[in-house]
C-alpha cells in the first residue's frame, strides 16, 4: 500500500503542477502540452484505481485525439504561435477568489464526509469483458444515444468548419 501511496503522491503532484500551468501559462501551445501531463496523470491514476480499460481509453482519446485537436485549433486560430500577454480577462482576481472558495468548500466537505475512509485493499478487478458486457446490455440504449450524439457532433463540426 505504501508504494501505491508514493505513486499517487508523485502523479498527483505532477497533475497539480500541470493543471496550474494550463490555467496560468502565457503560451497556448504550452497550455496544450501541460494538459497532456494532467491527462496522462489521470490515466495513471485510473491504473492505480484498477480501471485499466478506462486508462487505455483515456490515453487513446484524450492524449491521442483531443490534444491534437487543440493543437490544430491553436494553429488555425492564431497567426503567431508563442507568448501572448492578453490571454486573461480583466476580472481574473474574482475568478481566483471563486476558485479558491470552491476548492475550500469542496475540500472541507470531502474531509468532513469521508475522513479516513479506506479504499478496499484487494478489490476484485473489473475486467474489460465485464465493462463491455455492461455497456452492451445494461447501457445499450445510452450507448446507442451516444453513437448518435457522436455522429451528430461529427457532421455538425464539418458543417460549421466548412468554408463556402
Amino acid at each position: 500500500m505504501v508504494a501505491q501511496n508514493i505513486a499517487f503522491g508523485i502523479i498527483a503532484a505532477a497533475m497539480a503542477i500541470g493543471a496550474i500551468r494550463v490555467v496560468t501559462t502565457n503560451n497556448v501551445v504550452h497550455a496544450a502540452l501541460w494538459l497532456v501531463v494532467v491527462l496522462g496523470g489521470a490515466a495513471a491514476q485510473y491504473v492505480l484505481l484498477a480501471a485499466e480499460f478506462v486508462a487505455v481509453t483515456q490515453v487513446l482519446i484524450y492524449v491521442g485525439a483531443v490534444i491534437v485537436l487543440f493543437l490544430f485549433g491553436t494553429m488555425l486560430t492564431r497567426a503567431r504561435i508563442g507568448r501572448a500577454d492578453d490571454l486573461n480577462n480583466r476580472q481574473w482576481p474574482i475568478a481566483l477568489v471563486v476558485a479558491l472558495a470552491l476548492a475550500g468548500t469542496l475540500g472541507y466537505v470531502l474531509i468532513d464526509a469521508f475522513g479516513k475512509h479506506e479504499l478496499p485493499k484487494d478489490p476484485a478487478v473489473a475486467t474489460t469483458q465485464q465493462v463491455s458486457n455492461s455497456i452492451f446490455s445494461t447501457y445499450l440504449l445510452p450507448f446507442w444515444a451516444l453513437s448518435v450524439v457522436l455522429t451528430a457532433a461529427l457532421i455538425g463540426a464539418i458543417v460549421l468548419a466548412r468554408r463556402d
Binding site: 496550474i20 492505480l48 484498477a50 480501471a51 485537436l69 487543440f70 476548492a103 469521508f114
Partner: protein, 100 residues
Amino acid sequence: MLINQFLLLGAFLFATGVYGVLARKNAVLVLMSIELILNAVNINLIAFSLNNGSDVNGMVFALFIIAVAAAEVGVGLAMVLLIYRNRRSIALSELDAMKG
C-alpha cells in the same frame, strides 16, 4: 489508499478548471479548462467505482463522459474556428453582440 486522496485531487482539478473557465479570454484555453473539469469528474467516478468493489457502472459512466467530451471538443473547436473566421479574433470578451 484513502478514497479522500483521489476525491481531493478531483476537487483541486475541478477548482483549477473553474478558474480557467472564468479567467481566460482565449476560447481554446477555455475549452482546455473544461477538459480539466471533466477529468476531475472522471477521477471521482473511478474512485467511487473502486470503493464499491470495482463496480463497472462507474467505469461505464467515465467512458461515456470521455466520449461526450470528445464530441464537445470537436464541435467547440469548429465553433471557435467559425468565430475566428468571422471576427479575426477568438477573445471571448469581444463577443458582445448579445450584450444588453
